[in-house]
Amino acid sequence: MGTQLAVVRLSSRLVRRGAVLVALGATAYVVVEAFSYEAAYPDAASRARLAEFGDEPAVRMLSGIPYAVDTVGGFVVWDGGYFLQVLAGIWALIATARLLRAEEDAERAELVLAGPVRATRAVALQLGVVLAGCLLIGAGVAGALAASGAQAAGSVAVGLAVAGFGSAFAGVAAVTSQLFEVRRRAVGAAAIALGLAFLLRMVSNSSDERAWVAWSTPFGWMDRMRAFGENRWWVLGLHVGLVAVLATTALVLRSRRDIGTAILASSDAPRPRLRLLGSPVAFAWRSSLGILAAWAAGLVLYTFVLGTLLVTMTDFLTEDPSYRAALELMGVDLTEVTQGLIGVMGLLYGLVFALYAAWRVGAARTEEATGRLEHLLTRPVPRWRWFGGHAVLTLVSAALLALVTGLALWAGSAVVGSDLTLADAVASTANTLPVVLLFAGVAFLVLGAAPRLTVGLTIGLAALTYVVQLVGPMLEWPSYVVGLSPFHHLAPVPAEPYALTAGLVMAGLGVAAGLLGVAAFERRDLAGA
């Protein structure tokens, strides 16, 4: 009993900080959503128009089927429910793989299992800790909803659904952690499952004939719950059932394998691949190719689907003056509707590419934290060369992502005969690169000055400033606040010409931050994890 308590305490210690941060983030997000609802749709008439707009197929595919959007709770669920679920799901799958796979990778799990506790029991306890974290996130969502004036029962239902969604992907990661032998793969496979679940939701929302598909994905369950109206509590049974099935599967798989092994183990002695081992930079490129390909695949899939929706969306926009007015309020010139639309959507790519850059710099940091970097730096490799190599690779990778994303957007739109040109499509994604350069610079500065914060601080800043630009203008925040967000200074290319001065300033700041970073990195001691 004491050992089991110790396992629980150790596990919570390892993941609690992330859980609390995500719960706070989700809470803040709900509050911001609720505020922006009151600001943007103050009266019954505007809320009725919103319901109408939300029922358009294209909007439904992205945001979901509107339900009770004349209430603040219903609006938050419709507009941000998927984001809250993604947030809880990603945290849960990362935390689960951390506890169930990374600890084994690092040969630390052995220390725990040397105590009087069965491996399967330890898995159950660790999974329990993650589920508790999911409940914490759900509680943050429910509390924020209720505090924003939403109906209490609906708030609790939505909170539980967010917790249930997170728990489901904790279950998925618990299974993938048994299947694959390194954390990266366990996380990757679970993330692919999350992406597929999202695609299924888009399919189900695309037309009423396919609505039944919603039952096949946890994303659809929250919509089917009809919170703030019917409040169908029994839908939560689906979450519970899925978590039970996945957890049982994980336990059975765990009982069938030894520590340090995996059900789908790859060969321990593959044919050596000697390409891209010639220099630190070549090796960094080799190490990051797999993840870059995964990001590219996800972005290509998403933007291709988005491209195929362009015609429906522009048709809708041309017919709905109120939404056009709303977009124009956000500073979008809609004389060319398609260009205006993709110009606005382009901001999101900026955030995604910035997150990629943060992850990419985080991978460099991991080399340092594990001590593997010492193999390179004790050979004739000056620190600035290693650092600069990673900087160049990060920027090249981000530019490649922008290129393939633009290509996929164009390809999708070409399939449905949109008037979007290839040049305009690529311009809309490449437009965000100064922001990406800025956040990459920030990431390298943090790597140089406070290495343990590299990923967390950069991602936090990028997400925060993105949200500022998203809601600031709508809530009429003062311009000096909104102006702090780099995203605010991006022109909606191709609807408007590229903002050259702002681009140069942000690129310059990014380069300066990177240079400060390399100077700090040259001066400091290498730091372990």
Binding site: P270, G371, H375, L376, T378, P380, P382
Partner: protein, 290 residues
Amino acid sequence: MDLPALSTHGLTKHFGPVVALQDLDLEVAQGEIFGYLGPNGAGKSTTIRLLLSLIRPTAGSAEIMGIPARDVARAHRHVTYVPGDVALWPQLTGTEILTLLGNVSGGVDAAYRDELVERFQLDPSKRARSYSKGNRQKVALVAAFMTRPDVLLLDEPTAGLDPLMEEEFQRIARDAAARGQTIFLSSHILDEVEDLCDRVGILREGRLVEVAALEELRRMHTTVFEAIVDGELPDLSGLRGVTVTEPIPGGVRVSVTGSPAELLARLASVPVIQLRSREPSLEEIFLTYY
């Protein structure tokens, strides 16, 4: 006189309030095997990491083959390193890692590399993930020796090796030193240092408390005499040089620092059946410093 392989001048490292290394002045000649001794936390790894510029000195400086340690692009052409805890890229095989490290270092003697792999009985076709601590250390040792560097900085390199491999390591190290390569061996395996090293430095709480050849150390230190006596024991305490006396069955064990002349004179007056003396082991010397 040849350039020293390693030299440090007032090398100091503080981690906040903790003094990891204070005013280290040390020279290691080319071709020497230098043993660097001290308990955990005495500053052995700190010294090596400073020499490699992995951490930056609070004060002082260091040179490798006359090149400032800061100038890693030049200094690191002469040096390789085996850390005490070797972390490798888990998804890479031994061959891939040796290829990468060889390319980054340059100047790999491929035949010698294959010989080292053979002598350490390393299976390089395996992914690093499946290597034990000892096997990871072997990869790092092969990588360190395969370029025939002028200086090898080895931080407890044999902690995970079995006794046979430990022997092999000693042979390889002696061969290297015979070719003029310098080995700086941080260790707390005293037998290994005793077998291998020409000179040792002893570190205590960040300060170098002794640097001497092993022979010299032994001379400076206590010799142990055991006398078996027929009859009553003479009083041996109070004699010059005698530090400890303790009874053993039929006689006495006496530790003497410096000349044993007075002890021998006193013993000459009693019927001694047997007199044994032995030099102190490095371990006994080492313990006198703590």
